[in-house]
């Protein structure tokens, strides 16, 4: 029967999942942490393990977890390789490794820290294959790879703060930044051609805009969140 088949089994049997099944609201962070599903997933009956599904080697679960966390992994990897292209490659390589070892994943535990361990290893392998930047020594990478709670827990807040700070930029600066990032692979030289301004002027302008953005974000993140 449909309702029986869709009866949720949360590995921790947590009271929050039981509450949502009873129609009560809970915070999405906790639901995700405990059950590997967002509030929307819970509400739609999607994304949770159902009775009869094997908890491990479930491609649906893996795909969902990867989709949900691939951008977090990218944010984690980027400072360790300093280049978006390389970071994307490393996340892809990590995804392959994660899938191969997915039967060792304990769904009781949050996915992201587990995935970061693989990504960290893939970063080191990546640098051994191709060292693009000499300043990224193994020692520095080890230091940078240490968990940083401020970055881990605040991804959503950072996005909101970034959106707020972008709003505060003058329209022309925002437009330039939008164009720079509309295709992150495009070079500043190409952008200069498109907007008809010298490349060195754009380099300086982008540097200034990012500095202002960073200052704005630092200030906003240091302040307690409203609401």
């Amino acid at each position: 029967m449909q309702s029986a088949r869709r009866r949720f089994i949360c590995q921790t049997n947590c009271e929050f999942c039981l509450r949502i099944l009873g129609g009560r609201q809970i915070g999405s962070d906790h639901a995700e942490h405990v059950c590997g599903a967002t509030l929307d997933d819970l509400a739609s009956g999607d994304g949770l393990l159902t009775e009869g599904d094997p908890p491990r080697n479930d491609p649906a679960l893996f795909v969902r977890l990867m989709v949900r966390h691939q951008n977090d992994l990218l944010r984690y990897v980027l400072p360790l390789v300093a280049c978006l292209d390389d970071a994307q490659d490393v996340v892809q390589e990590s995804a392959t490794a994660l899938w191969k070892k997915f039967d060792e994943y304990n769904p009781d535990q949050p996915f992201l820290p587990w995935a970061k361990r693989f990504a960290r290893y893939e970063v080191l392998m990546h640098h051994r294959r191709r060292r693009r930047y000499s300043f990224l020594t193994e020692e520095l990478i080890e230091t940078l790879a240490e968990p940083d709670r401020s970055h881990e827990e605040d991804a959503e807040r950072r996005q909101r703060v970034l959106a707020g700070c972008l709003e505060k930029l003058p329209a022309a600066d925002r437009t330039l930044l939008d164009r720079r990032y509309s295709d992150p692979d495009a070079t500043v030289g190409q952008l200069a051609d498109e907007v008809g301004r010298p490349a060195n002027v754009l380099y300086k302008a982008l540097g200034r805009i990012r500095r202002q953005l960073l200052e704005c974000m630092t200030r906003a993140l240091a302040a307690p969140e409203a609401g």
């Binding site: 999607d46 795909v63 990867m66 951008n71 191969k100 000499s134 990032y181 960073l214």
Partner: protein
């Protein structure tokens, strides 16, 4: 020494270095300075991490990869905006491929579950006749999973995920869930918007997953399946295999029921376009109408190595092969032979003697990649002079932007961007046709990385197709597209029987050679040379050496440093007559009956018929001798006025 604090000036210096880093312009000194700051200062490392995370956040804005709200457990997909072909967006596509390659696609197979909720709605029907077990189905009806059997007429369904299906009777289709169908027989066109990424069509022989696209599929009685992609990308997997293959726009594949394999076939979207029904025409692209070039135009191509190798010219010819001879344009090649900074003699020899009505200028990429590239000013003056010279002869210049090379040499791209900008402004100023190769390469699936070789020296086969398509549009043949495979044959008049030998490079010139004693090193050589390895490829016409050899070039003759080739052939003529001898590749000199009749210039091109000159054959047997490098092309024609033949000519 490790420090904690950073003062304002150090902070400013660090953000400057980080800006240069993310914009890819950090020099070695900057990198060294950045390393020392990060090694010594914890706050610097924190700032570094903040800055790079912000960089990632900026790049990821509006590109969130999300699960579709209505995803069912049976159809997990990665919904990503794949039409945005930035590397970041493509990444999501590759992630799908990766997951598929990891075996997850296999899990999809057969995982669709029976569900009685509606999964699609009938948007429109035209003269539809349904069989008893699925009839009658009217417009607006909601459909639950099950089999639809449309015997005749047409129907348009919209799946709950947003994918639009156009059925052309007779067709038998099973709705599995809101994101998956099984085509049992007949044909179907799918228009899947981004919201429907991951929509899947199963057939007895194929499993096709859409990645944001428009495609047509047909299933034959034995289960063999064809898929023709109109836009975007699909991932295809023969049901008998674990391997997944992306099929891109304007490509087609056939899943053969007998062999179980997937092979590339000629793309033909016509049957699927006919299923437009009463639906709105999909986004009409507002592009200015380009008038078709005059009937029987004589077009000469001027340019660099890419022009010289003429793959895209062959594709244009093939795309127009069904046009009557008096309508189809005739193509000549003067790639490399006529340099951008030409002498008047060259202009007369390589351009005027063919009496062209149009000239396509394909210069740029090679010049920018040269060790001593031309400055913007030099390029502008070279192109302007050539355009002036052509217009003075009433030859219409057609400009072409250069294909991108930034993945191979970013500094060359900066130059090319300037060249291209100039070409655009010149085209606008003089009202010239402009083939926008640069823009199309950037917009095409896979982008320049797929369409241009890793070293930037030339387009890949797919790149040549893109280039041919752009040129066909520019010439006004907007309804024509290049085929995915080339049909080639021996060029007219190719001399097929030779004796060849190597000699020291500095050996005196050959005279009238009559004796081919193997002890003197002579070996027979028959044209066309076989190309066994290329013939094992799924499509040998994608191989450069196969193309050259099939058309009559001798290539890759065994060769040692300090050697050159002599090649001899005998030509029998019924009468004394004047003919044209055409040479290409590395021919250095030609002797007829002991008399030197041609001396090649140092390297000035590869293409067949690059140099054409008259010669007189005596009645009876004539001896033709050439000196060349380890490749050559020689043919004899009645006239020098022969254009690149179209298939079948």
């Amino acid at each position: 020494m490790e420090t904690r604090e950073m003062d304002a000036s150090l902070r400013q210096e660090l953000t400057g270095l980080l800006s240069a880093l993310v914009d890819d312009c950090l020099d070695a000194a900057g990198e060294e300075r950045l390393g020392s700051l990060l090694a010594a200062n914890a706050e610097a490392r924190e700032l570094y991490r903040d800055y790079l995370t912000m960089h990632a956040d900026l790049a990821l804005r509006d590109r969130a990869v999300e699960l579709p709200a209505a995803a069912l457990p049976a159809s997990p997909v990665l919904a990503s905006p794949v039409r945005n072909q930035s590397r970041l967006a493509r990444w999501a596509v590759f992630a799908v491929l990766l997951l598929a390659a990891s075996g997850i696609l296999g899990w999809w197979l057969g995982s669709a579950q029976t569900d009685l909720r509606p999964v699609a709605q009938v948007a429109s029907v035209v003269d539809a006749q349904w069989t008893a077990d699925s009839a009658p189905i009217a417009e607006g009806a909601w459909l639950t999973p099950g089999v639809l059997d449309l015997q005749a007429g047409q129907a348009r369904l919209v799946m709950n995920c947003g994918a639009e299906l156009r059925l052309m009777g007779p067709v038998r289709l099973e709705l599995l869930d809101s994101k998956a169908v099984r085509l049992q027989a007949g044909q179907l066109a799918v228009l899947a918007p981004d919201s429907a990424v991951g929509f899947r069509v199963l057939t007895p022989t194929a499993d096709v997953v859409d990645l944001g696209t428009e495609f047509g599929m047909s299933v034959e009685a034995d289960g063999s399946t064809e898929v023709h992609v109109l836009q975007g990308v699909v991932v295809a997997r023969p049901t008998s295999s674990d391997g997944v293959i992306p099929i891109l726009a304007r490509e087609a594949g056939r899943f053969d029921a007998m062999t179980g394999g997937l092979v590339a076939i000629a793309w033909d979207a016509t049957p699927f376009l006919s299923a437009a029904l009463a639906t709105p025409v999909p986004e009409a692209v507002e592009e200015p109408t380009i008038p078709r070039i005059a009937d029987g135009a004589r077009i000469i191509f001027l340019g660099d190595r890419t022009t010289d190798h003429e793959t895209h010219l062959l594709m244009i010819n093939q795309a127009l092969s069904d046009l009557p001879a008096e309508i189809a344009p005739k193509l000549w090649n003067a790639g490399i032979a006529l340099p951008l900074y030409f002498e008047e003699d060259d202009f007369e020899r390589y351009v005027l003697r063919f009496r062209p009505t149009h000239a396509v200028l394909e210069f740029g990429s090679d010049i920018s990649l040269s060790r001593t590239p031309r400055t913007q000013k030099q390029f502008e003056s070279g192109v302007t002079r050539l355009v002036d010279r052509l217009q003075a002869e009433n030859i219409e210049p057609i400009l072409q932007t250069a294909f991108p090379v930034e993945h191979a040499k970013p500094e060359a791209q900066e130059l090319l961007d300037g060249y291209n900008r100039f070409l655009r402004s010149l085209a606008a100023e003089r009202n010239l046709r402009l083939a926008e190769v640069d823009k199309h390469f950037r917009k095409a699936p896979g982008g320049p990385e797929r369409l241009v070789s890793p070293n930037g020296y030339g387009p890949t086969f797919a790149g040549h197709r893109e280039m041919a398509d752009v040129l066909l549009d520019t010439l006004g043949f907007t309804d024509r597209q290049a085929d995915p495979s080339l049909q080639l044959s021996l060029l007219p008049g190719v001399i097929t029987q030779w004796h060849v030998r190597t000699v020291p490079e500095d050996q005196s010139e050959p005279g009238d050679i009559t004796n081919f004693d193997p002890q003197d090193g002579w070996k027979p050589l028959a044209i066309p040379q076989p190309e066994a390895f290329s013939e094992r490829l799924p499509d040998p016409s994608h191989s450069v050496s196969w193309r050259d050899r099939t058309r009559g070039f001798a290539t890759h003759l065994p060769y040692k440093k300090g050697q050159r080739y002599e090649a001899v052939t005998h030509i029998t003529s019924d009468e004394r007559k004047t003919v044209t001898i055409n040479v290409g590749a590395a021919v250095q000199g030609v002797w007829l009956n002991g008399k030197k009749i041609h001396e090649g210039k140092p390297w000035h091109g590869w293409h067949a018929g690059r140099d054409r000159f008259e010669a007189t054959l005596e009645a009876g047997e004539n001896t033709l001798v050439i000196a060349s490098g380890n490749s050559f092309f020689v043919s004899i024609t009645d006239t020098l006025d022969w254009a690149l033949p179209r298939p079948g000519e």
